[in-house]
Symmetry: C2
Subunit: 185 residues, 2 copies
Amino acid sequence: MTALQRHSTVFVGGALGVWQVERCDTICGPVLPTVERVAVYEDDVPSAASTGGWVLRGIASYERYVHRAEHEALAARQPVLGRPSSRCAALIPITKSAAWWELTQDERRAILEERSHHIATGLAYLPAVARRLYQAHDLGEPFDFLTWFEFAPEQAQVFAELVERLRATEEWTYVEREVDIRLTR
Amino acid sequence: MTALQRHSTVFVGGALGVWQVERCDTICGPVLPTVERVAVYEDDVPSAASTGGWVLRGIASYERYVHRAEHEALAARQPVLGRPSSRCAALIPITKSAAWWELTQDERRAILEERSHHIATGLAYLPAVARRLYQAHDLGEPFDFLTWFEFAPEQAQVFAELVERLRATEEWTYVEREVDIRLTR
């Protein structure tokens, strides 16, 4: 069954996990309870893990906006997750407005890339900042996306610049909930 | 919470429901057990409903391929579901291959519309055949999509032609599982 090939990734905020929370800023929308640590699981979450805090789930699904040439450029530069040097991470859950989801595919693509340069901007920060996008819109989760970033401590300022650039775009005017969780291990 | 605004639709094949199964053909891939009736629920499925048969769940989610001009053309012609004259329906669950999902957005759009004319073909059968697409790929369901069609008995041949035209396209070479369930009420 195809179903067995699609694994969800579960982020559990609580007292457990290798990632220690350094900061948790609510950028817009409802607050996410502050926790001490974040644990990352593939599919199965041990029952002990979900005491207190929050549980966010997403799927590393097919690409929604990337074109072939962009895919090849990204693939050539993007590092794997879990590099030993990546002792910093960020989990940034995001929800976009109903107005965004009512746009058609060509309109969303035009805002995301032609006008906001989201893909090109991400590319410019590779391989310093490793990134994975988890889709959650169709899962009935509180966020539409969970974005996960990993980088070395000396790249923290570079990562901050990437986030700042994205937040200044037209695309971000459609973001109605965003929480920025900075982590170290 | 945004989560509360996204309802899943659940199709339950068994002994209950207003829709009586006339035919159930496995077009390709694993068979779906033959049932007598199909019931359609929004979100909550009564516990008595799921005895035997199968349960398929999907989300009427945002549009993945339609451009603005196509959206307007569809919106101008597409009828609501539940017309009194629509005493025939079809539920066609579909799974596409890994090769499809590994294509980028521009490649999938080119195959779906520029080369297979999926959207234009559907438009040509409006308002005779009402249609709703439910996304299931990210839900870990056995099918990627559930497509639901409604039409009057005198349009059954027209509907058969629509399905035949779609199955002859390049897009359909990526379909690895398809079941065609014809219903009446």
